[in-house]
Structure formats: C-alpha cells, structure tokens
C-alpha cells in the first residue's frame, strides 16, 4: 500500500469525507492516513512506513470516526463516503501521549547517550505530543548490545518493536533475517532465530533495516551520540520503482 497519490492524469479524488470538520475529497480506497497526509493534516505514526505492509502495533495513528465506538487506525482504514473523521481530540491526545510514555518506560531511551538523538522519531513524537516526563515507573531493562556485525549495531534497549526492520528485510530485501522472539514484555528482536547478527548468514549487509529504524536501536557502526541519520523514505522509493518495473530491461521485455 502506498501513500503516494496517483500521478496526474489518473482519476481525481471524488469520495467526500469530513476531516476535522473540513470537507475534503478522497480517492476511492485511500486510507485515512494517506488522505490526511495528502491534505496536510498531521497524524502521528511510528510503525507505519510507506512501502511496507501494515503492522498496526504502535496504535498512534488512531482516529475517531463518527458512528464507530472503536478508534480505527488511520494507516489501515480505507475512507468511505461521508465518513466523519477526527484526528486531534482531547481523548486522542491523551491516549497518544500515554502510549508514547509507555514506549519510553519500556526501554532505555536515554537521548543524551543515543546515536540517533536529534533525528529520532520517538524523540520527535514525545516533543510533538507534549510528553515532558514519564508518569510510569521506568523499566531500566538490561540487554546486551549486538555489535557482532561488521557494519551495524543493534541496541535492543532502544527498540520500540515497531517491526519495520522485520518487514523491510522480509518484504523488500527478501532475506527475513529479523523476527521477534518471545512474547509480551519479553519480546525481543532477534537475527536468525537468535544468532548474533554477525553470524547470521542470511544477512546481505544491505542495511535497509538500519535505514528504516525510527530510533537508535539499529545504527551504523562507529556513529557517536547524535551522529546517526536514518533514511526510512528510501523504502517507498525502492518499492515504487520495483512496482513500476523500473529495473526491468524494457527492450528485453518487449522483444
């Protein structure tokens, strides 16, 4: 699923929707998130990434839809005609703030010593959602850093379990090095069923997992505090080109 609007010449948006009190036109089948981004309404996301499948685990993009007692996820819910969507109510703000606080409480998100400080999606979410402290007792987990890979480092204490790395490795690179082991609060990111990353023979060293990581959990080796810069947008670019057959030799195909 891609959030990029169809190129000019395609159908025009013709599904009438009310977004935060304003009448807007959506494309047929467009998700609430795609619509919101297209018209410039900010809905916070964390596990969602253009070019990857929907995970639905971070819950931050939840919205209110008139007539629906649940809080549907903007990333996974297609708009329907006359849908009335609210993206920024007091209740939503409170829920989002608490979920972000829970993510902070779960890990060791110590920005002052983090490679990704200043370019971290969790840090940005805290700032934009008014999280100035954590109401919940911090867990202070202790897990080993996996620095066995020659090029990359995994620090599980900074992982928010968004599974972007799992999905990009499986869906885009096709290697499926990563997955989540254990369950609940013990969930942890593992390479090849629990091997040190450096011994994972299925890893192609492509680095896409590092590029899409929203926090400092996955980083390039040798980066110091605040030096890591991720590039998650590259995945949308890659998958779009792949879907459009940009890497196929067109002459060979046509002959």
């Amino acid at each position: 699923m891609s959030l990029v609007p169809p190129r000019s010449g395609g159908p025009r948006p013709n599904v009438p929707v009310v977004l935060d009190g304003e009448e807007v036109s959506a494309y047929e089948g467009e998700t609430i998130l795609a619509l919101a981004r297209r018209v410039g309404t900010d809905i916070p996301t964390l596990c969602y990434l253009d070019g990857l499948s929907i995970h639905g685990g971070c819950r931050l993009c939840m919205v209110e839809v008139a007539g629906d007692s649940r809080l549907p996820l903007a990333c996974a819910t297609p708009v329907t005609a006359e849908m009335e969507i609210r993206t920024d109510t007091t209740a939503l703000r409170n829920h989002r703030r608490r979920v972000i606080e829970l993510l902070f409480a779960e890990g060791n998100h110590i920005c002052a010593t983090c490679v990704s400080s200043g370019a971290c999606e969790l840090q940005d979410l805290a700032a934009t959602n008014g999280v100035d402290h954590i109401h919940y007792a911090l867990e202070f987990p202790r897990t080993d850093v996996d620095a066995t890979h020659p090029k990359y480092v995994l620090d599980r204490e900074r992982c928010v379990l968004c599974t972007r790395c799992v999905r990009v490795c499986d869906e885009v690179e096709g290697a499926h090095v990563w997955d989540i082991a254990h369950r609940g609060n013990s969930s942890t990111l593992v390479a090849e069923l629990g091997k040190p990353w450096g011994e994972a023979s299925s890893c192609t060293w492509c680095g896409k997992c590092v590029l899409v990581c929203p926090t400092g959990a996955l980083s390039f080796k040798g980066r110091s505090t605040g030096e890591m810069r991720h590039d998650p947008d590259v995945i949308e670019f890659l998958t779009r080109l792949r879907d459009e057959g940009e890497w196929v030799d067109r002459q060979e195909v046509s002959s």
Partner: protein, 192 residues
C-alpha cells in the same frame, strides 16, 4: 516581563542532585539575563550560593539530577516541603538519564565493590565517611516527590531555561496557580 518594581521579590533556589552539573552550566549560559533575573528574584540556595541548609519559603526550585543517594533523597524532601513550585531541571531529574544507566546493572553493592575493592585505589575499601550511601536505583525526581513542572533537555538550552523562568516567575508573582498539567514551553525535547 512586566514592571518588576511593584511586586515582591521572589525567592528562587537551584539544587544539584545526581547529575553532572551540566544543567547548571547551561543556567550560567543565561549570561547577562542573569542580571534581569536578579531584578526580580533572589537566588537563595544552590551550587551557586554558599548556603548549607535548604531555606524556608522558597517560591521556585530548579532541581538538577536524579535521586540516586541518601543525601539526594533527604534534600529532595526538604525542597518539596519548602518550595511552592518544584521544577525537574534537565533530563536526569526528568527521566534519570545517564545517572540511571546503572539501574540495569543490578545491586549497587556489587558495583561499589568492583570499583573500590576489585580495582582498588590506595585504600582498597569501600568509602564509609562523607560519601552518602547509594539508593538501590537512581530514579527521576517525580518518583520521590511531587513535581510541578518539567524542563527536559540534556542540558536544557539557556534559551529554554529563560523561556521557562519568565513564564514561571510571571505566574508566581501574579499569584496564578499553575495548571495541573502544566505543559511548559513548546520546544520541549529530551536530549540535545
């Protein structure tokens, strides 16, 4: 800021618990604005003064650092009992931050023995005098006392400190109660 002359002078304190004093360095980066602050408030306690015991009747206290030892705990309680508004000043006070990195490493006793006995300095014994005992874990300030305002950052920039102080001093001198969930200035962020 409105005219300072027609209002009573406010009593402001700062405190240094388990932190690196970087937040106080940032406070000093307020530079000449410190004169403006002095126009409105007296600095009645903190590393920048020579006062030994926490005074009574303080309007605002900025607390740097996590609560990591017995002295911190005692001072934090004294601060709360004698301050109208307590602000967690910087990431160590807000989250535990670097000071709390030790929390995942287990009991402090083992750490102390590793530092003082296994890799001994001259004495090769645990320090027993002057040095306060460590608490089992280092905790954010609000886990120990009620905190009114949070000022994250490692350290918070001088600009951020100034913005917060102006808002707080205005509220205090106008007698405005602080809202329950005082959100603080808009550019709040952890880390740098």
């Amino acid at each position: 800021m409105t005219d300072a002359t027609d209002r009573p002078r406010l009593r402001v304190a700062t405190a240094w618990l388990g932190g690196c004093s970087g937040c106080h360095m940032s406070f000093l980066d307020l530079d000449e604005w410190l004169f403006d602050l002095h126009e409105r408030a007296d600095l009645v306690f903190g590393p920048l003064t020579d006062v030994k015991t926490f005074p009574d009747d303080v309007d605002l206290t900025l607390v740097e650092g996590a609560v990591t030892n017995e002295d911190n705990l005692e001072l934090a309680r004294a601060i709360r009992a004698n301050s109208r508004v307590v602000a967690s000043f910087g990431d160590c006070a807000v989250t535990g931050n670097v000071t709390a990195l030790r929390n995942g490493m287990g009991e402090p006793q083992a750490m102390l023995e590793r530092v003082y006995v296994e890799h001994p300095d001259l004495a090769g014994v645990l320090p027993t005098e002057v040095v306060p005992g460590l608490l089992p874990t280092a905790q954010p300030l609000h886990e120990t006392i009620t905190v009114d305002v949070y000022l994250p950052g490692c350290p918070p920039s001088a600009d951020r400190i100034r913005t917060a102080l102006i808002a707080l001093l205005d509220a205090l001198s106008n007698g405005h109660p602080l809202p329950d969930e005082w959100r603080g200035p808009e550019d709040l962020t952890f880390g740098n």
